[in-house]
């Protein structure tokens, strides 16, 4: 039982990371129906920005995270402007292929500029502390990840539910044409969505750096795919769904590597994806709409 709760704790911090990445996927999909394949790589860029702000400027982890979020917000907006905006009227397949291209571009541009080696996230930025409570081992890493993820999610909920920008985002995702008629600038709203989604991914990137200690230019691929699975699991386009899906995926993954074979860890994520797509493509929190898939 104790081990079970311990696995749950470990799963929660991994799940928080997945949930943050999944939020970006789901927001972008909700607004322009595009699977932003490059999203995991934006997370990678965020991790590198965080890494360099710690090693070059000696900032602490929170400042590094804010730097990463700002840099990636800009990156996300630029990517949308350059690569996705010209394709808004074309088929979804064309947009998906472009997103794949963008993902490869970010990965190999980073390899080209910084080399393919993995970099060790500096320990000094985050000295490890362990706490023992009721037989459970909780590290300050776990606390940092979970707390900052929850803070970011609350801020996101506030932006979406309470502000005018959030209202515009919701309006555009429901009906783009009607939103235009109401005087909402669709281009601006989509840019803001990309900015927010990418900033969340960047925060997740810094967390991955803290969690796994190493970062490399291809680190975005697998967490990106898993976060996508999380978004689909919760119901893509639905923001609370992404949070739920992220935590479920994180916990599921820790249980599989804890009790089963860690080699099958990745296969489980994809298996979940296929099951969800075949059984309930709208996801756990999705409503049944006529044509979704």
């Amino acid at each position: 039982m104790l081990e079970f709760v311990q696995q749950l704790v470990n799963g929660l911090s991994l799940g928080a990371i997945y949930a943050l990445i999944a939020l970006g996927y789901t927001m972008v999909y909700g607004i322009i129906m595009l699977i932003n394949f490059a999203h995991g790589d934006i997370m990678m860029v965020g991790a590198f920005v965080g890494f360099y702000s710690i090693t070059l400027f000696g900032t602490n982890i929170v400042v590094a995270m804010i730097f990463a979020m700002l840099a990636c917000a800009v990156l996300g907006v630029v990517i949308e402007k350059v690569a996705y905006r010209p394709l808004r009227k074309s088929t979804r397949i064309a947009a998906l292929i472009t997103a794949i291209g963008m993902s490869l571009f970010l990965e190999y541009m980073t390899i080209f500029l910084l080399g393919p080696q993995q970099k060790v996230f500096p320990h000094t930025a985050f000295p490890l502390k362990e706490y023992h409570a009721m037989g459970l081992l909780i590290t300050n890493k776990d606390i940092f990840i979970i707390v900052s993820a929850i803070v970011l999610m609350i801020i996101l909920q506030y932006i979406i539910k309470m502000t005018r920008t959030g209202k515009a985002m919701r309006a555009v995702s429901v009906d783009q044409e009607a939103a235009v008629l109401m005087g909402i600038s669709v281009d601006k709203t989509i840019s803001i969505t990309f900015a927010i989604g990418s900033a969340l991914a960047a925060a997740a990137g810094v967390m991955v750096g803290v969690y796994y200690n190493t970062i490399n230019p291809l680190m975005g691929i697998i967490p990106g795919l898993k976060a996508f699975v999380a978004a689909v699991l919760g119901g893509i386009g639905i923001i609370p769904g992404a949070m739920v899906g992220g935590f479920v995926m994180g916990i599921l993954e820790t249980f599989v590597s804890g009790y089963g074979s860690s080699l099958y860890r990745d296969a489980v994520a994809f298996g979940v994806l296929i099951l969800i797509l075949l059984i309930k493509p709208t996801g756990l929190l999705g409503k049944n709409t006529g044509e979704k898939v």
């Binding site: 394709l87 397949i93 794949i100 291209g101 490869l104 190999y108 699975v229 994806l273 075949l278 898939v293």
Partner: protein
Amino acid sequence: MQKLKNNWLKFCGEVLILVALFTVVQYAITAGLLNQYYQINLTSMVINIILAVSLNLINGFTGQLSLGHAGFMAVGAYSAVIMTEMLMQPFAIGLLAACLAAAIAGFIIGVPTLRLKGDYLAIATLAFGEIIRVVLQNIDYVNGPAGVVGISKLTTWPLLFGAMILTILVVVNLINSSYGRAIVSVREDEVAAELMGINTTRYKVIAFVIGAMFAGLAGALYAHFFYIIKPETFNFLKSFDILVMVVLGGLGSTTGAIIAAMFITVLTAALQSFPAIRMILYALILIIVMIYRPQGLMGTKELSRETFGRIWGGRK
């Protein structure tokens, strides 16, 4: 009668060109004019052509974006190697097993996933491709992640050439048959095709299975030329490689796929020492082609004798 005669002449001409091409390369190999480097690139080129033409059948002609082609290649490669290396069967049996296993895998994966549309299908096929890779990593019989080393080199030029011609013949003839017209109609408008009484799922599965089968064949040829196979070789980046060829050549153009496969192979060979730049170029190809020419360079047009006729001043 005149038309029949023309067709007959055209056919003979094509056969002559192919026989000439085959003989020249065969002579160059036996006479030792092609060194190891050129032979390796020639083999990759032929394997890439098989992969691109077969993926084009799924992505281009049927319009179903599949990102799991490397998975089928892996199934073919491993089945063939199990037959030849572990069960000591002749290579012919290995090739047959590769085609069969990949086709069965294509059927098993295709039937459920082809109900999905567009980007969901793409992600589901990607997931299946990765599952194939992870499963292979966990099978001790084929050495898990380390892969199989020391596969005997059984792939020869006549075999490669034959496999390539077979792939192109099957795909071209399929597309020009009533099956092919049904397949293309699924791409053009699935609802309309359904209304005309076409069982769209059936044709999608047929295209998917045939595409997978040839990917398996390519995998078997690959394994028996390059000495070593690892599950990691067949990850989704390999699928993206093939996708780049199909996108560049034109979604729905067999000659386009062939030209793009040749071009990409040469590009890969030229940039061998700069792998990062190669991938950046791939990425730019995908993005730029999609933005400025989403149907690919050739679109759905084919390069044929008539095209050359037009270029050379309208001679028939």
